[in-house]
Amino acid sequence: MLEKPNKLRIALICGAVIGVVSATPGLSLINCCCCAGVWLGGLLAMYLYKQEFTEGMPPLESSDALMLGLMAGVVGAFAAVLVNVLILVTFGPIEAELVRSIAGKVLDRMSEQGSLPADMVETLKDQIEASIKDSGRMSNIFGGLFITLIVYPIFTILGALLGYSIFRPKTPPQTTLAQ
């Protein structure tokens, strides 16, 4: 009997997709909708993995979805941090200047309209400045990695399991559940 397809290659491809989607400004907004970019990555991994199956291979099982989701999530977390750092190094000063300029204009307008008191505007500007400086700190990058290493695998596992439920074979393999 043939062996099941290799999960690592699919996990690397989908992890890279998750990383790019999650770290690219604009594209990353998709994750604001319940981490949709990440769980769709898990779903994509399951779809691609199912396509690799041929006749004579053991059937697709839910444990495959579990492992594939976990691997894609871990790869995705590292890829997201890597892409984030690359963007920060390459476009960091331009991006920071853009944020500073837009936020400054919005706050000034709110102050002119009387929506915000002048001292509050100054406090908010200081906070924005501090967050721009903090974004490049190593502690923030590793803090982000710590959180994404927990969150991303949870959502990719959910996506892969959902993918298994959608793409599962019509007669799933029998498994003894309780031991």
């Binding site: 999650s22 994750n31 604001c32 909708c33 319940c34 981490c35 990440v38 099982e61 839910s62 444990s63 495959d64 979805a65 579990l66 492992m67 803090g143 982000g144 959180i147 994404t148 927990i150 969150v151 959502f155 596992i157 959910l158 399991l161 959902l162 298994y164 439920s165 959608i166 599962r168 799933p172 498994t175 003894t176 559940l177 309780a178 031991q179």
Partner: protein, 168 residues
Amino acid sequence: MKFTKRTYLALLSLVVLWCGGILLAPAVSAITPGVSSFLYSFYSPICHQTDARSFHLFGQKLGVCIRCSSIYGSFFLSVLAIAVTQRFSAHSMPNRLWIMLAILPMVVDVLLTFTGIHVSTMLTRVVTGALFGSILPFFVVPPLLEGIAQLRNQYLARGGFVYARKTQ
């Protein structure tokens, strides 16, 4: 206790922890701002956390927005419902058409808002989020329990847990 039920209880604990963190973020903001700040940071990669689009507790926004809160709240209730209905097996999963029907209203609501055709309201966010969150566990929890059992069986078949079995 059977292995599946132990796994289910562990999963339920994780869901309680996840939902509890969402409520805890505003609840402890006055007592321990550090913990509250960490919890808000923890949920920040998965939600926009906009104040105007969030439920509030003690005058502070929850860890996630209205739509996400509805999804996680109904997810938790459905995970409880799985225990009540004993639908632990992957063979008892509903027709896959249900998940399409559950996700469609939320996708339509989000897309219409993005295109500016219709602005989502608190009601549409709660209803569409709760619909998706309540159906999702019936599609992910049974294969999750089955998958963990399969991994355990594979590990046992390779000779794992030998020491544990000898000591029992």
